[in-house]
Amino acid sequence: MSNASQQRFTGTTVIGTARLIAAKDLRVELRSRVLLNQVLPFALIVMVMFAFALDSDAVLERVAPGLVWLAAMFSTLIMVSRSFAVETADGALDQLRSAGVPAMGIFIGKMMALMAQLVVLVTLLILTAVVLYRAELSWAGSVLLVTTGLTATCGLAAVGTLYGGLAAGAKGRETLLPLLLLPVVAPVLIGATRATESAFGTRGVSTGQGWPWLGLLAVFAVLFSVSGAVAFGPLLDD
């Protein structure tokens, strides 16, 4: 790493770095199409398999919100792995750090890129639930659903990036990540499922009952965004 580029990076702000990293990650996705060609089809097949396992229209309609978010969690695991495989394959993460790029910027950038991809994924999963599981959507429900989707994906992206960074570069991280991540995202699964139930009107739950669950999702998102931004530096510095 030359001295000139080191100076250029240390001069960059956190937000600037975040924007660069996020753009880089999305460009990698645009060119490799891993989300489009692998993760989204995986999520779809999971939704179809749920239908095979539960084998009843009534049951499917009742549990559709939970299945949407469960499939989202499983896909998140794959996307986090992918997000950090890109960084560690050529030791890119270490080089970024030794070039003096602020860790907080890396965290926010990767989180943003992950969140953008998760939004696409969750949108597809909800559409699948509408088509395959007969979930119903009203206008008021849609507003709640969009807010829920954004808040929940923000939380998932934050916690995914944090734990992805923790396991990055270690041997056996593919098997470790689910063990670390799934217990942590349980509050998102609970909150997002309940809010989505209200949005779909499953079991006669009204839309209004869904909004309090957003509080839980928001607390989660804020807590892990902040702690991720703070803890990411110490995690990477070795």
Binding site: L166, R173, L235
Partner: protein
């Protein structure tokens, strides 16, 4: 083997003696002397292992968090804190496993079911899995400092995560669970001897925790030393080869 490589000191030897004595006393009191409960019958005896076990596990996880914070704080940074955190988590996972098993056995006898989605039980299960993950992260490899930093951050994240999980499970529970079994038939009429046995259990298990962590912490230190000396040994061997090849 020289004495400085042993994990015991006069203090731990004395402590171990009292722990063994205390456990023998606990078994005698818990199984033979103390009376059966009015409501629960003989199954109440499981409590004398279950409650102290759960107490020990929670104590261990608190200790892991405190030692991790001590490691991360620059002024007190020392690998000893990291080893205490690791040793404590290992002991905690073991006893959390024991208290989950004894708890579900007791639940089967008293409530008629092994498991209930009560917030406390569910959080305990999450805690168990979280610290299994913590131990897995400790085993990831890298330098001792890498291991220490990674696992310390993870331990502090667990402190953040667990209240959130507890809170959300509680919310989920109150809104979606019909009358929980917890609370039914669980009132224990504690007589003096039962209370004393339980109290003795907590004290003995706490001493046992200290004893186990001291030993484990020292054996972890020996493992680290072995790692380092292995590396030094390999380095000096390669150097010797290089000088031989040079001649």
């Amino acid at each position: 083997m020289s004495n400085d490589r042993a994990t015991s000191t006069p203090f731990t030897k004395g402590l171990g003696f009292f722990v063994v004595l205390g456990i023998a006393l606990l078994i005698i009191l818990g199984i033979f002397v103390s009376p059966a409960d009015v409501n629960q019958g003989e199954s109440v005896r499981i409590m004398y292992a279950h409650v102290p076990g759960a107490w020990l596990a929670y104590l261990a996880f608190v200790m892991t968090a405190v030692s991790s914070a001590a490691y991360l704080w620059k002024r007190t940074r020392s690998l000893t804190w990291d080893r205490i955190a690791g040793a404590s988590a290992e002991v905690g996972v073991l006893f959390m496993g024991i208290s989950l098993v004894t708890g579900s056995l007791w639940g089967r006898l008293t409530w008629g079911t092994y498991w209930t989605w009560d917030a406390r039980l569910t959080t305990t299960a999450f805690l168990f899995v979280t610290y299994i993950g913590y131990l897995a992260v400790r085993g990831l490899g890298g330098t001792h400092q890498q291991r220490a930093r990674r696992s310390a951050v993870l331990a502090l994240l667990a402190v953040l995560e667990i209240p959130l999980v507890h809170f959300s499970v509680e919310l989920w529970n109150t809104l979606h669970q019909e009358a929980s079994v917890a609370g039914r038939g669980t009132d224990v009429e504690m007589n003096g001897l039962m209370l004393f046995t339980l109290f003795l259990g907590v004290v003995v298990f706490t001493l046992m925790y200290i004893w186990l962590v001291l030993h484990r912490q020292r054996s972890l230190m020996l493992e680290d030393m072995l790692d380092d000396s292995g590396l030094d040994h390999a380095l000096s061997e390669r150097r010797a080869e290089a000088t031989q090849a040079g001649h």
